[in-house]
Symmetry: C2
Subunit: 431 residues, 2 copies
């Protein structure tokens, strides 16, 4: 029985969208006027603007600033029902997804079309035992936990009478120098250089270390070499130690071992790799890297009613897979909705999906970013201004734009970290 | 060894303030110009504006709106050092407090004067086993957990196909009809009557029940009977079921038993009683009710250097103990600081502490409050306006006032609950 059934005319075709990230939400929104019932399933109750998640982890923004409840997001769209549930599998033959509700009940839901936008999980390259000690940064829960551990490390140092121990307590290791790792490194460096310097009376925060570790030969491999070099210089100027071309051998509660060398640390953060999720969910073939191979119209081979979009879909352009960024997911969500609507209207299907690359950006602290789009390359303050404008514009709701703008203006003016509450249970073990 | 030693001239007298609530913070602030070193110890990193905590629990405000990091709060005050630690005891003979740091190290700290402002904990009247199922509302962590459970109950009902089960899933039991219980009941009722009605497509939120349970003969025993009667009528008009003069026999994971009658419920909230904490901490005599008996100058008998203030101190006025409200703690904190400063200046000690009662208020949903001060009694919108103005004015920092005002204006205009994220681990057991 379809216990989570969409509202509206039950004779309308039923589109099930799995995942409330950029891809899923853009598909659901784009189906607003189509003659379909839509059910949007996510295990979180909110859509998260992931590009700014590192700012929650570094106490610059509050969780509510960068998230919007899914129900509110689609509240004005009468043909969408939201279900808080974790999808556990799909029966492609019988056209049904199975899921578990928030109170643990197993249910199934039949679909006429399925849009899978389940994104990626953190990957530890076979070392899942690192997860306990080196959290990733994928959800608000992750961000709040990392923020608590960062802030608690400073508090612990403040109560440690032996200054010789401060350096180890205040060593932060970031594994992976993609945009998230670099953005975190820049933001942590700035946090330690702002008003914290005087608010912490006893510990000298200049004894803190930020170590950014990357397996590739250079940081930001998805950017051009010249831009990456500028970001590298900026990070070094902020005091970040960068180690490229090295592997992490070990992570435990007392630190990390990198290229044979031990780094004592209370906080190792992992942003090094991801595992796409849709292959396992659907039980279908994946490309190297784990993404699901799809047709030019983003459907599974011989399953024209099943779409896979976003980070978890393998789509090539000029022989290279598309990057796992928000723009790809947003465009693919809209594309899948268009294919569904055209089919229902018996219209010609749209031409194969083509990604329109609006560019690639990363930010290193206040006032410095790198931006590249085709041959255009920008760095420094102009790129940061573009970054700030674009991110404000793409935030999901007016309330988010207002909150983030206010918070940024405030912290730009005062240098303060506006969102530095520790609201975790005391003595929470790293989990 | 004093490992958490205050900064500044070590020859200055050292005042240790335990607790960063209203009492402790007001004492620390009032010592800003005194020739002393101050160490403010709290197990949280923030000062919390408790009177609005119920609005975080009901998704109206975000945690950051009503809290300010202690370091930031006293950041401009050079003679104060903050320590994140849990005070475990005091040796009054040797004038030292012992505490545990955030990483579990035991330390001690010597004082010349001690101000104990440790407040109260939830009390279950000997039924500590209820705590697991019926959380109290004392900290941001509590509020965020209650918010998650409230919102998750709605989500669970939405995925439950059998409407007959919705009523039990959506039954909320509030134990204790003091201001917090009544404010929660009113706020939950409004939450269920706003835009949620349409955002939840399948479940009929009119099937929800809010049961407010009170052991005394009427609600709001600290208010006059006529005002309590008006608040009672307002709650009933909002659909709240009120049971007075009854006892809670049992609370477990499936509901509560009240006066022999079983109420199935997924969320029982406990605001019925409190236990003062300072008696146990100091190992001194307490009055009935558990508060520490103090002299007219708020010091312990024969320990003129030890002050006990706020909810945890027993001070009488006209033969009745002062209520456990913010105003008492604020005034006592300032008073203790004055006594300390006068002693150091060898000036005449101030006259015995006298509480200046500015009045007592409680709010039942948007636009309705009750307020009483001496013979003045107000209810309805004028009282609500007074309530809103006073609470905005007393928020700790300008950033909080701005955030709360904006959030209230927004939700007054749209009816939306602005802060409804669930950022707890999935399947978190009630703890």
């Amino acid at each position: 029985m379809d216990s989570v059934s969409a509202r509206g005319d039950p004779s309308l075709p039923h589109v099930v969208v799995v995942g409330g990230g950029f891809g899923g939400v853009s598909a659901a929104r784009a189906l607003g006027r189509a003659p379909v019932r839509v059910t949007l399933i996510d295990r979180s109750n909110h859509h998260l603007f992931q590009p700014l998640l590192y700012q929650v982890a570094t106490a610059s923004l509050s969780p509510g600033d960068i998230a919007v409840p899914l129900r509110q997001f689609v509240g004005d769209q009468n043909n969408v029902t939201v279900a808080l549930a974790e999808v556990t599998g799909a029966d492609l033959e019988r056209r049904a997804v199975s899921f578990t509700t928030a109170d643990g009940r197993a249910q199934t839901l039949a679909y006429d079309a399925l849009v899978v936008a389940t994104g990626v999980e953190q990957s530890y390259f076979g070392h899942d035992e690192f997860a306990r000690w080196a959290p990733g940064l994928k959800s608000l829960l992750d961000a709040v936990a990392i923020r608590a551990r960062l802030l608690r490390a400073l508090e612990i140092a403040e109560t440690e009478p032996d200054p010789a121990k401060h350096r180890d307590i205040l060593t932060f290791v970031l594994v992976g120098a993609g945009p998230t790792g670099c953005e975190m490194a820049g933001a942590v460096a700035e946090m330690l250089q702002g008003p914290f310097r005087t608010e912490f009376r006893r510990v000298d925060l200049r004894s803190a270390r930020i170590v950014l570790v990357e397996g590739a030969a250079r940081i930001l491999p998805s950017f051009s070499e010249s831009l990456a070099r500028r970001a590298h210089a900026r990070l070094v100027a902020k005091g970040v130690e960068i180690r490229t071309g090295v592997r992490v051998d070990q992570v435990d509660g007392l630190g990390a071992t990198v290229a044979g060398q031990r780094i004592p640390s209370r906080l190792v953060l992992w942003t090094a790799g991801v595992t796409p999720t849709a292959g396992r969910l659907l039980g279908v073939e994946t490309a190297p890297g784990g993404r699901v191979r799809v047709q030019p119209d983003l459907t599974l081979p011989a399953r024209p009613e099943v779409f896979v979009i976003g980070d978890t879909a393998h789509v090539e352009r000029d022989g290279r897979p598309l990057p796992g960024v928000a723009q790809v997911a947003l465009q693919q969500g809209r594309y899948a909705a268009r294919v569904i609507a055209r089919r229902l209207a018996n219209a010609t299907p749209p031409p194969p999906f083509r990604y329109f690359d609006k560019g690639n950006m990363a930010v290193i602290g206040r006032g410095f970013a790198i931006f590249e789009s085709g041959r255009l390359q920008l760095s420094g303050f102009p790129a940061w201004l573009a970054w700030a404008t674009i991110h404000l514009a793409f935030l999901p709701a007016a309330g988010n734009r207002f909150a983030v703008f206010t918070r940024w203006a405030w912290s730009y003016a005062t240098g303060q970290q506006p969102s530095r509450l520790i609201i975790e249970p005391r003595g929470t073990p790293p989990a």
